[in-house]
């Protein structure tokens, strides 16, 4: 009897390890995460408008239907990237996600403080390779460091009422991401 209790205790302890291991491994093994869902419709290092979610069809779950969305699926292995997006009339935001869906940086039009949101995206080693003088003059240049080589830049423009959706979509049409 005592022996079986010990076996159960060992099983529960081992179960705890299994639990932690599966939780930590899941983001890397999930086959239907946001990046995998977007990969078939978005070319690498180019801005692609995402179709608005409808009850019958949505690329991602829990998308906000009040927003026009465009995605740049980036790959920094060829070098740093430059991202620009004009500000829409109502509200525009840019969010950077790693390959595994972590939102590591987000900025909105008010924080960017201009009519054009301009950002440089690079990995930490690429930033270290920047010539020093360039780093100094970069005061007016917002540099974002990506923790992963690949990931997603998601631009969202709000359409405060359904009739303004074409305007929100049009403002995203001028958003660009390209390798420097």
């Amino acid at each position: 009897m005592m022996r079986w209790l010990l076996w159960i205790l060992a099983g529960i302890l081992l179960g705890g390890i299994v639990h932690l291991a599966t939780i930590l491994a899941l983001p890397r093994t999930a086959s239907q995460d946001a990046y995998a869902r977007l990969a078939p419709i978005t070319p690498v290092n180019a801005m692609t408008p995402i179709p608005a979610p409808t009850p019958a069809n949505a690329i991602l779950p829990f998308m906000d239907p009040a927003f026009a969305v465009a995605v740049c699926r980036y790959d920094l292995s060829a070098g740093p990237m430059k991202f620009t997006a004009p500000v829409s009339q109502a509200y525009t935001s840019v969010t950077f996600y790693t390959r595994y869906g972590v939102a590591y940086y987000a900025i909105n039009d008010r924080a960017a403080g201009r009519r054009l949101i301009e950002l440089d995206l690079m990995t930490t080693p690429q930033r270290e390779d920047l010539p020093d003088d360039e780093n100094v003059t970069a005061a007016d240049r917002l540099i974002i460091e990506s923790p992963t080589l690949t990931g997603l830049i998601v631009v969202r423009a709000l359409s405060p009422e359904p009739g303004l959706m074409p305007m929100a979509r049009a403002s995203l049409a001028d958003a660009k991401c390209r390798t420097q």
Partner: protein, 193 residues
């Protein structure tokens, strides 16, 4: 023989406990850094690089992209103020005020994150569209059939989820209580179909 049987048994217990608790944590949601105000819950850290492993796993499993904290914060309600699950066949009233934000949106989803189909093709409101009373408060009726004022149709789905997203707001990691972020109440118990 006994050792073999015992270790086999141990592995079975380990698999059941480990995978069971993982499944439970991902479907019910583990509550790390959860901000609870009335029936609404938000996890502002989910929109940052400091996201906890449970939230990361849950996001990867459903395949959604969380709202970044520099963008806004999302509050989710699955029940009314009394803790009853939201039922799309009944009338539910959302009323009150909201924390300061440049814009907010309220959206109705089915529990799996798809939008609920309805004849009006309306899945939510933006702060811009709401009809408000003079003191700035508002009342939204979530109901399967046409209602006067701010009507959010459910399409008659059995269960639904409400998500309120606040954009360009001070609500975030430092927010602790409903006093800093007043959210509307959710009252069900109206007529059912």
């Amino acid at each position: 023989m006994r050792l073999l049987l015992g270790s086999l048994f141990t592995f079975m217990v380990a698999a059941a406990v480990g995978l069971g608790s993982t499944w439970f944590a991902l479907t019910r949601g583990a509550a790390f850094g959860t901000l609870q105000i009335g029936a609404w819950t938000a996890r502002p850290k989910t929109g940052t690089a400091d996201v906890d492993p449970y939230a990361r796993a849950a996001i990867a499993r459903i395949g959604a992209l969380p709202v970044g904290l520099g963008d806004g914060v999302a509050f989710v309600a699955r029940t009314d103020d009394q803790g009853r699950p939201l039922d799309g066949r009944c009338d539910t009233v959302i009323s009150g005020t909201t924390p300061p934000a440049r814009y907010f949106t309220l959206t109705l989803y089915e529990p799996d994150g798809t939008l609920a189909a309805n004849s009006l093709d309306r899945q939510g409101f933006t702060s811009h569209e709401l009809i408000r009373s003079q003191d700035g408060s508002f009342e939204i009726t979530v109901a399967p059939r046409t209602r006067a004022g701010n009507w959010l149709p459910t399409g008659g789905v059995e269960r639904y989820v409400l998500v309120m997203r606040f954009y360009d707001t001070a609500v975030g990691i430092a927010t602790r209580a409903g006093r800093e972020a007043p959210l509307p109440s959710i009252k069900s118990g109206g007529a059912c179909q």
